[in-house]
Subunit: 486 residues, 2 copies
């Protein structure tokens, strides 16, 4: 068994190179007095560092000048009043600084920001000043020049594909970041979707390997699952959440990687860990082969308020088993038979115990009678139901007012994946156009962490201001558009 | 006649070397949560840059941490509530920053501060944090190792001498700064006193030459006087005030420099300018040879509220003439006769028109009957009155309740100089002990810009918080103690 140091060494060997590009905003210089403000537009979303020069306009500027500099991923953020923030996450993620400048000079702001717009307010200046040479040094590990255009004929899909690739590009730094504004760590659920889209776009294999190894180096929780997230900047730190669905999706990520690359060496390094995740999950099944609830924050599935997620989790387990069996077969690993036997049994158990024949829907007793799109989607992806029956189930749940609906592009990815699995290419295309295109209609340059069409202020953190507007898990339309030639 | 470029080139050639010294505060590390704060003590006053490192205490610190960092020249400043500031100068001089840190890391704060104490408040931190490796990189162009100890036997004078030399040292950077906290420019009045004390302490001749040349490069005002102040960081900029007394004291500074160094080359470069200052001043005399008032901020003399300063200014003119005549004689410059003739005439006129025989005091009609210590001091220094008569005049004015009293160590220097001129060594010594020692009794590590024993909140700017507590013009006790062997 490989040890933590080995995995960290491999992660380090696979550090992707960052590409830097200097963006110059629309406005070249700004002459101002106390109280004046200006909004710079970089013309596109960017992740990086801001610098500018400052000098007197006429008389020497003796006293220091106080500026308030605000970075917004969109204009709504620029116009937000951060002082009214009431959300659950730290307000320090809101991108605003108060700085004093001793004139004249050049300031290179030390922190990294994620933004398209920059508002500079001259809070206190005793003399007129001039700000100029605005520059934003943007970084990404995505090789933009290597990106082929999508071949779709559909203008709207082409636009959606473009915004997807920009979203992914922005989240590709020295690892797959979740959200460069606020969630500068690597979560397994996001990794899986970013890696998948990356294979069809920038195809940076280094960053995928790096991320897989980083998780392999993590400290497992009490149930033996990998950490659901890790930090890597500036040092490695293993997160303290152990979501069961994320542990499983790590296994799927390894399967995806092998399917795409055939890189046996890397998969050999990680195979034991994958088996361990599945074996530890198996221990959580009851005598009916149905997953049992656990204490604490145990599964994610979606940021849907009040969602009961055990049926969906059962589906993730089946989905993972199926992927893993395929991998083992490709590797000629004899354990494939063991997992195949398990898959059959768990599938049968899932139909028997989780399907409500009378109402023709999955509404697990474990999930206390709650109806959700999530349960149907994951039962479909887990191979418990399919064909016309599956289609009907999915479409009806998406329309049922009493069913919990997906709140994030993350969960909606799996809705679209389920549609593709059921051969519903047309419906999947419409779904992408509606649920991702809807963000573009609202002015998105990159896809958001959370989007509920009927509730533009939806936030998983009780305040929209803190939402990430460029979020890794929302980049998958490019995967569908390119893989399925939509 | 030399031109501006020549003077700037000479100023540049005389750039003094900065010496750096790393100060480590009393406290080595600080573990904290939101709301905690700490006060670091550098053990001495310092001018320079602050840096520290920060890391997690246990869990990774995900969200940025907001710190408020305040720098105080003394503890009173640390405890001041800057939000209640009401003064006339820009509040941005108050040394306080709000910074966001992405953990972990090291921050080297980009601005220069003047302080002994540093208060760090952890404003927002979602997780416990650790701050450590506090370091303050202090700078000065004074060569501290070259400083000889004063030879006085008097403990109190030795202490005053020490604080004086520290004050001067702190103000010696790439030029003579007025006050490193807030007045980062060079004023002629301060230059004269700093240079004088420097000759008896660090004896850095480069910095004196640099400052003399910087003023020589300045743009003169409508009356032909040199600018009263200049900026030199990061580029030369000629100030827009043209105080008559400061223009004269520039001439005195050149005289002092020659007397101390015998450096004929430098004085030759500056002699024309000195003559011009005196000749332009002469044009302001009326038919009685008494200076006439001019529009705007025309003379300084002291930060004494409501002070009428024409009599004092007349004294500065006489004082300057006397110094300049001595210089010309040493240089064998035949113009000395012209100025000598003028000196005699102006002195006679001053007695005649400014001395109030009946009240035995200088109370110029031009100064509208106001009685001030300032008028007496400058008439004594101008040689208009002396001996026992002068002593009586000085002592009585210092005790008169209806007489304007000096508010600054700057003006008090000239009080002490007048005492020395009158042979009042004992009184001068007591005066230094009272008026500078008083600051030490209040905890001063360096001498202040303004000090009024009976009004600890006195400020020339309507708010004590903005006062400079390390001010160049207050460093002169060392000059007296060392020159006169007190």
């Amino acid at each position: 068994m490989n040890d933590k140091n080995y995995f960290l060494k491999k992660a380090s060997e696979n550090m992707p190179e960052l590409h830097f590009r200097k963006l110059v905003p629309d406005i070249k210089s700004f002459s101002a007095e106390s109280g004046d403000s200006i909004i710079l537009d970089l013309g596109e979303h960017a992740v990086g560092h801001f610098s500018f020069s400052f000098d007197r306009l006429d008389e020497f500027v003796d006293a220091p000048v106080r500026l308030i500099i605000k970075f917004g991923e969109d204009m709504r953020e620029i116009n937000d009043d951060f002082s009214s923030y009431k959300g659950g996450l730290s307000s320090t993620w809101l991108q605003e600084e108060i700085i004093h400048l001793d004139f004249p000079g050049t300031v290179s702001m030390p922190r990294r920001y994620s933004c398209r717009y920059i508002r500079i307010t001259v809070d206190i200046a005793r003399r007129p000043i001039k700000l100029f040479d605005f520059s934003f040094n943007a970084s990404t590990s995505a090789d933009v020049l290597s990106l082929k255009k999508s071949e779709t004929d559909d203008d709207w899909l082409r636009k959606i594909d473009m915004v997807s690739t920009v979203t992914l590009k922005e989240c590709m730094q020295t690892f797959f970041e979740d959200g460069p504004k606020r969630d500068r760590r690597l979560w397994i659920g996001d990794l899986r979707l970013e890696a998948l889209t990356n294979y069809y776009t920038f195809n940076n294999l280094q960053i995928v390997r790096r991320c897989l190894y980083l998780f392999a180096a993590g400290d497992t929780g009490s149930l033996g699952f990998l950490p659901s997230f890790i930090y890597e900047t500036p040092y490695f730190f293993s997160g303290r959440a152990y979501l069961a669905d994320y542990a499983l999706l790590y296994v799927v990520s390894v399967c995806d990687y092998y399917e795409h690359t055939g890189d046996k060496d890397t998969v050999d390094d990680l195979l034991e860990i994958c088996k361990t995740q599945l074996d530890n999950f198996e221990k959580l099944l009851d005598e009916n082969m149905i997953v049992t609830p656990q204490d604490g924050w145990f599964s994610f599935i979606d940021w849907c308020p009040g969602l009961k997620s055990l049926t969906a989790l059962q589906g993730v387990y089946l989905y993972t088993l199926e992927h893993f069996i395929n991998l083992l077969k490709m590797l000629d690993d004899s354990d494939s038979e063991k997992y195949s036997g398990l898959l059959v049994k768990v599938r049968e158990a899932s139909v028997k115990h989780l399907y409500d024949e009378e109402n023709q829907i999955f509404a697990s007793s474990l999930d206390e009678g709650q109806t959700s799109v999530h349960s149907q989607v994951w039962m479909i992806l887990g191979g418990v139901i399919g064909g016309e029956e599956g289609k009907k189930l999915l479409l009806s749940s998406l329309e049922r007012k009493d069913a919990k609906q997906p709140c994030t592009p993350y969960m909606r990815h799996y809705v679209a994946e389920a549609m593709m699995k059921l051969g519903m290419k047309k419906e999947a295309t419409e779904y992408l156009k509606k649920l991702w295109g809807g963000m573009i209609e609202l002015g998105a340059d990159t896809f958001w962490e959370a989007y509920v069409p009927e509730d533009p202020d939806f936030s998983p953190y009780d305040d929209r201001m803190i939402n990430s507007l460029c979020h890794a898990w929302s980049c998958t339309p490019s995967y569908f558009i390119r893989k399925y030639n939509l």
